[in-house]
Amino acid sequence: MDHLLDVENLWVRFPTRQGIFDAVRGVSFTLGRERLGIVGESGSGKSMTGRAILRLIRPPGQVEADHIKLDGVDLMQKSEKDMRDVRGERISMVMQDPKFSLNPVMTIGDQIIEAYRLHNRVSKSIAWTKALEMLEAVSIRDPDRVMRAYPHEMSGGMGQRIMIAMMLIPNPEILIADEPTSALDVSVQRQVLDIMDKLVKERGMGLIFISHDLNLVADFCDRVLIMYAGRIVEVCDADKLHDAQHPYTRGLLNSLPRLDAPRDRLEVLTRDPAWSEAPSVSGRV
């Protein structure tokens, strides 16, 4: 299998007053043309892993890795200027909340066109048609009106679809989605996921799907990395997530209330210090 992305021994560190804090500790994985899920609690380092791939961690935070290879080229060796050609064009990222990631004082059309024209030298009118097509691709009705609208006029679900349109218009090879549906209602969640799934499949992209929702990941992804305290504790196929072995994964699964299996008390996770001591499991294939 050819790897789009190959991450080896990734560390993210933040100096604090109490000494250095390791947010991500020696994580290795590969990504092919697949949907790779990263799950874990808040603070487990899953978002930091996503950001570190794009080198989006600002000083004083430090990123270290043996390599982060995109099609065989190491991103760690690239200059900040060269990284700009990677971000958006080859790897793009959808963030959690559209309210904070769209520019509130620019129309949606202008924002999508800007994203497209940054990577393609075309006239404004061609970019406008491209943007319209992209909005249609993410199932937005009445794209003409949406192009002229401002972000505050959009609902959360529409905002997130606009974000996805904007991130996919430069046709990247890899999409990193950091909790793309957590701010959305369940019924809208499904729609957004379906759209993302369709586009990723059609374009043969690799997807890194970061989420805290185990059921969603089990449903949606091909392979899952489970992170705890900055390390990968378990790697499994998504459809086998419910048979996961690691006590942490089991604990997370058991702590969910379920409609089909009512219980008086929910199981509470008892944390074993050995989990954070154990070396990271490799997510390479």
Binding site: V186, H212, G251, P257, R258, L259, D260, P262, L266
Partner: protein, 246 residues
């Protein structure tokens, strides 16, 4: 006896052309000791009902009665001793420069308690935090610990009805389990009545006895949890919601 009786409740915002009817003709009854859930998508008006009950949404009409006493536009002090609310975001609902001791102490003082010191200790024990958290500030607490403080503050006046507005949606599933267990224990110990808003059907299924499904400001269906578990919703919208969440 009914703890909370809501009949033909309308809540609106704005006026004239800008008027938005957030809740229309909502009616339900929560019995004493019951846990009643409100579910629906964002914008369906479920939180607005809670805000109307506590007086945070002043433009409403219809009937809200707590323990048989109808509420007017001005609520007496005794009302707030009976009814308390826990908000969604524990990061936003605590004053960043007040210590846990100050937050709980102030609430107790406002409700006219004398033995504040002993009560703060008791409240912290009740929510499973213990003494060492007493003089901490919110930024020194995790999300789950903050939500425990928010619950302790709501319990301070010894209320009978607790309004829970998505109490666990900002928390991790492992912490959610702890808070839901805590809420279940507290309900049993103190004989509380819960009115719980959530978008997560499995959380409501776990916590509540009966629930109302809301859509566009209206209650479309009231059912009990057994029907929810058996996936026996009658209204097409609640069926749709059920299917989307499993």
């Amino acid at each position: 006896m009914s703890m909370l009786d809501i009949d033909a409740l309308d809540v609106w915002f704005g006026r004239d052309r800008g008027r938005v009817d957030a809740v229309r003709q909502a009616s339900f009854i929560a019995a004493a000791g019951e846990s009643f859930g409100l579910v629906g998508e964002s914008g369906s008006g479920k939180s607005t009902i809670l805000r109307a009950i506590t007086g945070l949404a002043p433009t409403w009409s219809g009937k809200i009665a707590v323990k048989g006493h109808a509420i007017g536009q001005r609520r007496p002090k005794a009302f707030y001793k009976q009814v308390q609310m826990v908000f969604q975001d524990p990061y936003a609902s605590l004053h960043p420069r007040h210590s846990v001791d100050a937050v709980l102490g102030e609430t107790l003082h406002l409700h006219g308690f004398r033995d504040i010191d002993a009560r703060v200790v008791k409240l912290l024990d009740d929510v499973g935090l213990g003494q060492k958290f007493r003089f901490r500030y919110p930024h020194q607490l995790s999300g789950g610990q903050r939500q425990r403080v928010a619950i302790a503050r709501a319990l301070a006046p010894e209320p009978e009805l607790l309004l829970l507005d998505e109490p666990t949606s900002a928390l991790d599933v492992s912490v959610q389990a702890e808070i839901l267990n805590l809420l279940a224990d507290l309900r049993q110990e103190h004989g509380l009545t819960y009115l719980m808003v959530s978008h997560d059907l499995s959380v409501v299924g776990h916590m509540c006895d009966r629930l109302a499904v809301m859509k566009d400001g209206e209650i479309v269906e009231i059912m009990d949890v057994a029907a929810l578990r058996a996936m026996k919703a009658t209204h097409p919208y609640s069926q749709h919601l059920l299917q989307a969440s499993v």
